[in-house]
Amino acid sequence: MKTDPLGVLTGEHYLDGDYACGEGAMAAGCRFVAGYPITPSTEVVERISQRFPMIGGTFIQMEDELASMAAIVGASWTGVKSMTVTSGPGFSLMMENIGLAAMMETPCVVVNVQRGGPSTGLPTMVGQADMMQARWGSHGDYEIIALCPESPQEAFDLMTDAFNLAEEYRTPVLFMMDECVGHMTEKVVIPDPDKIDIVPRKLTRAKPEEYKPYLVNGNMIPEFARAGDGYKFHTTGLTHDEKGYPVMSEECQAVLVKRLVDKIRLNADEIAKYKEDGVDGADVVLVTYGITARVARMGIDLARKKGVKVGVIRLQIVWPFPEKRIRELAGKIKAFVVPEINYGQIVLEVERCAAGKVPAILVSHMGGGVHNPEDIRDAILEAAK
């Protein structure tokens, strides 16, 4: 369906990534946000708290990130599109209820504007070191969806994808910005509301007496009933059967957890979103995301001037990882190069998919700034040898 025009500030704006992210959420139909202030993400909720009273949304500043995450999961059970926003330390606190959202199959969006870590780290400076936490941060087996914008414009655009994927797969979706994109101001074009397609909450049509909250009938995604519609359903963070009742057994665990993982893992190709440039016939392929993708393009240009055949895959969705494409390329190229603002995270995933056929070379920046394009160029030249 087309989005609710009330949330869409159509026009050309000069916005930073945080504001653009907030506008993206409102344009995508988000109407409940709970958050706790943390640099460098706070401007997202500042923007939202400024506009929500005029568009039928409710914002509440909770007492901490545990509460913020719990509140958006609760709110989502009324059918409202809900979101919270944080950075590293708060993201760590949210992990408990991200797991609850995964287990209860609750659509919601969590924005992490990444800064340098670990711990308090570099509150006002860029990092990309929460990428593996995004994938594995909460305990137990589950799969997650995570997006990475490279610009304020994309922070706006990809928010619609984030909310839509949350609905389609009934899962928490992580929006992994970085401080550089968050605090970078650029032109952002917000389209007309009739150009923005959103996925509404798909409510069950079953009769209340026949409804089972986790019955999948051969599909991967159960039908949703919202609180207050007379379904009297039960949902729990415990391992549960199709009625949503706790069942402490190996069999129930196997059925439930396998489905939680597979509903995303088996649809990875469907979910994947990346942009390729010059990959066909390339000797070296970069795998990039977030702000680093932009800086890497300078390194690529410099390497191409030296005659190296170099292509790039820029991940707009990092999780699930585009495993199939990386495996295909591994047989055709000399090496992957992975620049990232951490000491080696997504490079591990590239290496796993390359499966020993070709090396995956890390170009690390430890955080607090972005790469020197020359360092990326040098890594490409080295890899092409």
């Binding site: 050309e12 704006h13 000069y14 550089c180 970078m184 650029e186 932009r294 393009r297 300078m298």
Partner: protein, 180 residues
């Protein structure tokens, strides 16, 4: 300073069809002490958002000048508050001073000195058409202050016209640093 950077970026990106990427200094600096903002303006997509050596350095306090003066390119342009900053230029660097604080005071509100400076900056650099900057001022300042801010902008432009005429020319692909 941050507002000025925002207005210039807005003028270039929205009103003049260029690419303009602004980064503001963040942290304790944004809370009352010295602060700065950097802006990269280009005809093509800006890939690297930070600035090591700006082409243009706009400065409104001696503290800001001392902190950032060494970053200005050897052939860069310094634009400064004439009463507050006493520049020591390298050979090859050009400079343009304006008494922006006094001009703002004569308009009745010292707070608009940054907009006076903005008019002056636009005139020195020709980074965007004067009208594009003027429109950006209009869309960026708080409601009810438009008239005062436009007066301030025009005063900055007039000061340039009077003192420097057509002496300065701007180029595209500029990296601007502004500090107070």
């Amino acid at each position: 300073m941050v507002l000025s950077g925002h207005i210039i970026g807005h003028a270039c990106a929205i009103n003049a069809g260029m690419h303009a990427t602004m980064i503001q200094s963040f942290g304790p600096e944004a809370r009352g002490s010295a602060c700065s903002t950097t802006l990269v303006v280009s005809d093509t997509e800006v890939l690297y958002p930070y600035i090591q050596r700006p082409d243009i350095f706009v400065v409104m306090s001696s503290e800001g000048y001392n902190q950032y003066r060494d970053e200005l390119k050897d052939d860069g342009i310094l634009i400064y508050e004439k009463d507050l900053v006493h520049p020591k230029l390298k050979k090859g660097q050009a400079s343009y001073g304006i008494t922006s604080t006094r001009i703002a005071e004569s308009l009745g509100r010292k707070i608009v000195q940054n907009i006076v400076m903005l008019g002056f900056f636009g005139s020195v650099t020709k980074i965007a058409p004067r009208e594009a900057l003027r429109e950006a001022v209009l869309s960026s300042v708080p409601a009810g202050t438009e008239e005062l801010n436009l007066k301030a902008f025009d005063a900055g432009c007039e000061y340039f016209d009077k003192e420097f005429g057509d002496a300065a020319k701007g180029k595209s692909g500029k990296k601007v640093k502004a500090g107070t």
